[in-house]
Amino acid sequence: MSEYKTLTAADVSVGDKLQSTDIDISTGLVVCGALATRDFEPVHHSKAEAQAVGLPDVFMNILTSQGLMTRFATDWSGPEATVNSIDLKLGAPNIPGMVMAMTGEVTAVNGDTVDINILGENNIWGMHMQGTVQLTLPKEL
């Protein structure tokens, strides 16, 4: 049908690791991510406002983190997967200049439904987000 492959449950086992990826946290990603998610809280686009609350620079908003986490899951599964839920624990802020390493592992497979534990960890303060994305994979054809 297309060049995009989607995994089925038969392709997946508990313990499977997702291809890790590093995300450069640039000012552009933080500010434009806030804009794309219509989060106009000043701490996400104004350095002065971020510094007033004790951080050295603007920091990534939650909606951008959620977007990056689901992207990481569906980049692995392929586009025919359905995202059922994203459950995430928030950690240290992502600030421009950091690099966030994303890693993931399949923790459960129940029928066509898979749970993936995903960790986004930045190189300076550690865990930025950790949580579970649940996907339903397409039935085998």
Partner: protein, 318 residues
């Protein structure tokens, strides 16, 4: 806060449970291609289920969908929030906390459940309530309460497309956060500096120059490592050193998976290596997978700069 005051305060905050923060409010924009494409572009999202109408027409869905993670985006208040938000139950709750010293704020968890995929042209309404407030908790950040909002998202058919639970800790900060400045540069953590004392500084200094030395007794020529003042064989305190070729073999190894230590690579392999000269040496094994290691494997060391401040011998499989 004495017991009575605490009771009065808790009565005040628990009265917020069930209060509506946003009554059902339709999004200002219907779900549209432009906002999806912009969101995708910025987040590096390339999923054709969101972006490629031709692909999607032939997919099992038959059409593109809105990225689930955009569910909350559609109903966001606009740029006017930079000038402040209209008061609502949540801001009043937050002010109540602040007034009693619970000025710290920390979003701790956010969970979105998706019940129905949305597509272009749909309009998402959001309805938010304060769902629950915890009992008083002692946390690493300070004493406080968790409150959780529950947002329910519906489309124009009144179908629930998803929910969001957002948990926030309001706490009494142990110290007031100081304002930061440009000079608070983000320092990339480096490895713990080697402790350099009277008996081992010479060894690390040589390492900085790219050499691994092995201490040798001047009297009986027995080699020893790690560096120490006296020969274990003849008790002589006279010594010199030879340079190792860094040929070796693995005697034992392990992988340090937890905790992750800032400044160190993830899952480092630590090995005891028997050097060709005969002494044993603890170092990291790199350039190989843990699963591929075995005892007796031949390795070759190289002194390398492993971070901005640190020179360290590391071993590679031969």
């Amino acid at each position: 806060m004495n017991e009575q005051e605490q009771k009065a305060f808790e009565d005040e905050i628990y009265a917020f449970v069930g209060k509506v923060v946003y009554p059902t409010t339709p999004a200002p924009d219907d779900i549209n291609e432009t906002m999806i494409r912009q969101w995708s572009e910025i987040l590096g999202e390339t999923n054709p289920a969101y972006l490629d109408a031709d692909w999607a027409a032939n997919s099992s869905r038959g059409h593109t969908i809105s990225p689930p993670a955009m569910m909350y985006v559609w109903g966001q208040e606009g740029f006017q929030v930079t000038k402040g938000r209209a008061p609502n139950a949540m801001s009043t709750l937050v002010e109540t906390f602040n007034r009693h010293g619970f000025t710290g704020v920390l979003g701790t968890n956010v969970k979105q459940d998706y019940m129905k995929e949305s597509c272009i042209g749909d309009n998402i309404s959001v309805h938010m309530v304060i769902d629950n407030i915890s009992e008083r908790k002692t946390t690493a950040r300070g004493t406080g309460y968790f409150f959780e909002t529950l947002s329910t998202f519906t489309d124009q058919h009144d179908d629930v497309v998803g929910t969001q639970r957002f948990k926030v800790l309001k706490f009494i900060p142990q110290e007031q956060p100081a304002a930061a400045s440009d000079t608070d540069a983000l320092a990339v953590p480096t490895r713990i500096p080697s402790p350099r004392g009277h008996d081992n500084k010479w060894w690390w200094d040589a390492c900085d120059e790219g050499k691994v030395l092995i201490q040798r007794c001047k009297s009986c020529h027995t080699l020893r490592h790690p560096p120490r003042p006296m020969c274990g064989e003849c008790q002589s305190m006279e010594w010199d050193s030879i340079e190792s070729t860094l040929d070796g073999e693995v005697m034992s190894y392990t992988c340090l998976r937890h905790p992750v230590i800032p400044g160190y690579p993830k899952d480092p392999i630590c090995a005891v290596i028997k050097l060709a000269e005969g002494t044993h040496f603890v170092a990291n094994l790199v350039g190989c997978e843990y699963e591929d290691l075995r005892i007796g494997m031949k390795v070759k060391g190289k002194v390398e700069q492993v971070d901005e401040k640190t020179m360290l011998p590391q071993f590679y499989p031969v």
